[in-house]
């Protein structure tokens, strides 16, 4: 890698260094804090700073995903999980400190050891920039006519990996269904309201009449969020976005609805049974698109054959279909996880906090 390239110390490099320094500071703060609420919030901050840094690195698709996952949905899910446990972390045994520290130091030393021979930051001739990566930039246009090369790579060239990732998300949803339950495959019986049937914390704390402003604003916001989700989905061919980010955005609109109007209202709008079906359906749409490729005479996940006269139109169609599969599975699984968490009763009551 010693082709003499030296990273210029311009304003962009300085900005990158500032972002990295912020990440280190936030990371250390997360390790030191015992208050779980602060930890959850700081991990959201960590993701947001990472997302900003990815934008500065010109990796806008990654930045978008990081913002949607890390700063968005996983913060909500971690808060939901935190409500089920304690507010503070137990102190760790000192003996464990040392073992963990030793492992971390050895790992860090190995990473530092490797930096010496790493290509210089931004080197256009480094292996990742010069070999297959460059080939994608050259080929994606003529092969697929998809303007966003990232979408072409992840949905077509390496579409099988993305199929695998969609299945990973489905497996996570399956795990929640099996271990936590769907939290309302059986809805809380309405006749028992008088007997003060146990309700989830989220419902106790948010489903109340005082939040008039919240209710009105969110009613206005939710449709806009969903439309934005679809925009992100269908715009994925041309700019950053795609089924994964869109699924997270649409799921967060429904989670917002659940937070303001109660989980039961959300379950009436989007029933758990539908989500169970949707999580499975998305994987089948993705995998089925590949099977169609075989039936039309290509290899698995060959989209060219979807439109014999216009291979690149076939690419567009194939990418759109598999992205719909990703969208359906991601939206469903995010809501399955949310429902799974909210259905549980916390071990400690509100007053003990």
């Amino acid at each position: 890698m010693s082709d003499g390239f030296i990273t210029p110390l311009d304003i962009f490099t300085v900005i990158d260094l500032i972002f990295m320094a912020m990440l280190v500071v936030v990371g250390i703060a997360i390790v030191r804090l015992r208050d779980l609420f602060a930890v959850v919030m700081l991990s959201g901050v960590y993701s947001l700073v990472s997302a900003a840094w990815f934008v500065s690195l010109d990796a806008v698709d990654v930045a978008f995903t990081e913002a949607a996952v890390g700063a968005g949905i996983s913060t909500v899910l971690m808060l939901g999980a935190m409500l089920l446990t304690a507010r503070k972390a137990e102190p760790v045994l000192p003996a464990r400190h040392w073992v963990a520290l030793m492992i971390a130091v050895v790992t860090g030393a190995a990473l530092l050891y490797a930096t010496v021979d790493m290509p210089a930051f931004g080197d256009p001739l480094s292996a990742p920039n010069a070999y297959v990566g460059l080939e994608y930039l050259k080929q994606a246009g003529p092969d697929t006519e998809i303007a966003n090369v990232v979408s072409a790579v992840l949905a077509s060239y390496r579409g099988f990996d993305t199929f695998g990732e969609t299945t990973v998300i489905f497996a996570a949803g399956l795990g929640i269904i099996l271990i936590l339950g769907m939290g309302g495959m059986v809805q809380e019986p309405k006749t028992n309201k008088a007997k003060e049937a146990p309700k989830s914390v989220l419902e106790n704390t948010t489903h109340s009449a005082h939040h008039m402003v919240l209710r009105v604003v969110s009613k206005l916001l939710i449709p806009v969020i969903v439309v934005y989700g679809f925009y992100v989905h269908f715009h994925g061919d041309y700019g950053p976005g795609g089924g994964f980010q869109a699924g997270l955005i649409i799921a967060s609109a429904i989670i917002l609805y659940a937070l303001i109007f109660g989980v039961n209202a959300a379950k009436e709008a989007v029933p758990p049974g539908l989500l169970r079906f949707g999580a499975a359906l998305g994987v089948l749409i993705y995998g089925g698109t590949g099977i169609v490729g075989i039936m039309l005479g290509g290899n698995y996940l060959n989209y060219n054959v979807l439109n014999a006269g216009h291979p690149t139109h076939g690419q567009h169609l194939g990418v759109m279909l598999v992205e719909i599969g990703v969208l359906v599975t991601v939206t469903s699984v995010m809501l399955i996880i949310f429902y799974g968490f909210t259905a549980r009763q916390p071990d400690i009551s509100d007053k003990d906090w």
């Binding site: 292996a127 297959v132 060239y157 990996d161 994987v283 995998g287």
Partner: protein, 513 residues
């Protein structure tokens, strides 16, 4: 036998022949979501069994194609490598694929009675869905020729494994902590692995495994490559339960549902062991990125420690499945020892032991599961008199147990024999001694169980021997088949030995490092 296979394959439609490689993985992968939609346990089971039989057909097609052409390569989306993802089947992973498919089919046949008993009816369909994802994930790891694709399918198999283990929580709450333990360690392993893949991409600019090997030429001194090697080695070591990274294994195997225990014990660590061989010897250039000193100074001592320490730990366990689980870690030590020799003979012996250990440990877990289902047996002293009360199951257990010790007339003897001779050929007399000492320890922990079964009287209630639940033929048949296989592969080991020899020769040439 090959003539029968050829005649059978001639009957198949052309698309099964052309697309056997992807369909082997995609069909169980897609069967998972469908099983979830079926919602009824028995229906989902029948569906999963049907699909697993289909994968058996695809695996046999691949077998005949590899025998004819040496290897099979399949480009997804018709994108030529290194742009696209490829599947690559050769003698090395063919052995693993056949093993996983056969054990998947047998575990499914065996599993129905135990799942109906152990898993809540509402969850049974989802349980079979998780099983099929795990099955597909392991096959996907073994078949792929793309380094990042290994990671994706490793995640599919891992996440579904955590779920399967946790489903033991209905009967045994310790399954939940075991699963959590496995989740944390497994995720650390996966993270190390993916850091290593990232470094490899940084150094080579490609993810195709064959292409990485080409690009690594002359880069043996690159620190990025060396760090990649270390991270991948540790990451896969965690997944393989390489001593001392094995702490997740005993709990996960002992407390999981019976069917999950049978399948995981016979496949999961085997696939990780294969992946380790593939990366260490296949992708990294032996002698350039690392030399045999690493194998001698790092891998061999850990292998020997596993063989001795975990065999001793197995002696002190009261829980039957814990005994078998500790014994598994010890047996993984034998396989890693074969790899650490760095010779074709050693790697071949390690692969053969992987195959034999899968069929014998699968059989032992099946037998223990049947004991638990009919008499609620979980501990060694509960085995009293089962040789009389459950003669067939006890006979199956005995054959597999003797194979575990390595008694002649069983398959376990063959692979231990090759391991010892490979060690002596290399001049490692201490390794041969460790194999013998560990085998003596196995005599004790297996003998303790056999003694309870055959020499102790069955506990009596009111002067009569208590009657257990009748044994389902579905559960018994796979056990007896595996017991028979343990004897068959003593007399005719040509299938696994032939594949293992060819694989080791292809990886290491005639000589070795």
């Amino acid at each position: 036998m090959n003539a029968v296979l050829d005649a059978f394959i001639a009957l198949l439609p052309a698309w099964t022949l052309a697309h056997a490689a992807p369909l082997l993985v995609v069909s169980p992968l897609l069967s998972g979501p469908i099983a979830l939609m079926l919602t009824r346990g028995k229906l989902a089971w029948a569906w999963a069994l049907l699909i697993s039989l289909a994968t058996l057909v695809f695996a046999l097609v691949l077998y005949s194609q590899v025998m004819d052409h040496g290897s099979v390569t399949y480009a997804f989306g018709d994108w030529a490598p290194p742009l696209g993802i490829t599947y690559h089947v050769d003698t090395l992973n063919l052995l693993v694929l056949l093993l996983v498919v056969f054990m998947g089919v047998l575990s499914l046949i065996y599993g129905l009675p135990s799942v109906l008993r152990e898993i809540a009816p509402a969850n049974q369909a989802a349980f079979f869905a998780a099983f099929m994802l795990c099955f597909a994930g392991l096959l996907g790891v073994a078949i792929t020729g793309d380094a990042f694709n290994v990671f994706v399918f490793l995640e599919i198999s891992s996440i579904s494994t955590y779920v399967l283990v946790a489903m033991g929580g209905g009967a045994d709450r310790r399954a939940l902590t075991s699963s959590f333990n496995y989740l944390i360690l497994g995720t650390i392993g996966a993270t190390f692995f993916v850091i290593g893949i990232g470094f490899l991409y940084m150094a080579t600019g490609t993810l195709n495994m064959a292409d990485i090997t080409v690009q690594l030429q002359g880069k043996g001194d690159d620190r990025v490559v060396r760090a990649a090697f270390a991270f991948i080695f540790i990451g896969l070591g965690l997944k393989t339960a390489m001593f001392p990274l094995h702490t997740w294994l005993p709990g996960a195997y002992a407390h999981s549902p019976t069917m999950a225990g049978v399948f995981l014990a016979s496949t999961a660590t085997k696939v990780a062991f294969y992946t380790m061989i593939r990366f260490m010897v296949g992708v990294f250039l032996p002698g350039s990125v690392f030399d045999s000193a690493i194998l001698l100074l790092v891998l061999a001592p850990m292998a020997v420690a596993a063989m001795l320490i975990c065999s001793v730990q197995a002696l002190y366990q009261a829980n039957l499945r814990k005994i078998l689980a500790y014994s598994s870690v010890a047996q993984l030590g034998y396989m890693l020892l074969g790899l650490s020799m760095g010779t074709a003979a050693g790697v071949s012996a390690g692969l053969l032991h992987m195959f034999n250990h899968a069929i014998l440990k699968g059989g032992l877990f099946m037998a223990v599961g049947i004991f638990a289902l009919s008499y609620g047996v979980r501990r060694v002293e509960d085995l009293r008199g089962l040789g009389k009360t459950m003669p067939l199951t006890a006979a199956g257990f005995t054959v597999c147990g003797l194979s575990l010790i390595g008694v002649p007339v069983t398959a376990g003897f063959v692979s231990k024999f090759y391991l010892v001779s490979a060690a002596l050929e290399r001049g490692w007399w201490w390794a041969a001694a460790a194999i013998l000492i560990s085998s003596v320890l196995a005599i004790f922990y297996v003998g303790r169980m056999l003694e309870m079964m055959y020499l102790q009287k069955a506990p009596q209630v009111d002067g009569k021997i208590a009657k257990g639940e009748p044994v389902s033929a579905l559960a018994l048949a796979p056990l007896l088949l595996l017991a028979a296989a343990n004897i068959w592969f003593m007399f005719d080991a040509s299938l696994p030995k032939g594949l293992a020899d060819a694989a080791a020769a292809a990886l290491l040439g005639g000589g070795g490092l």
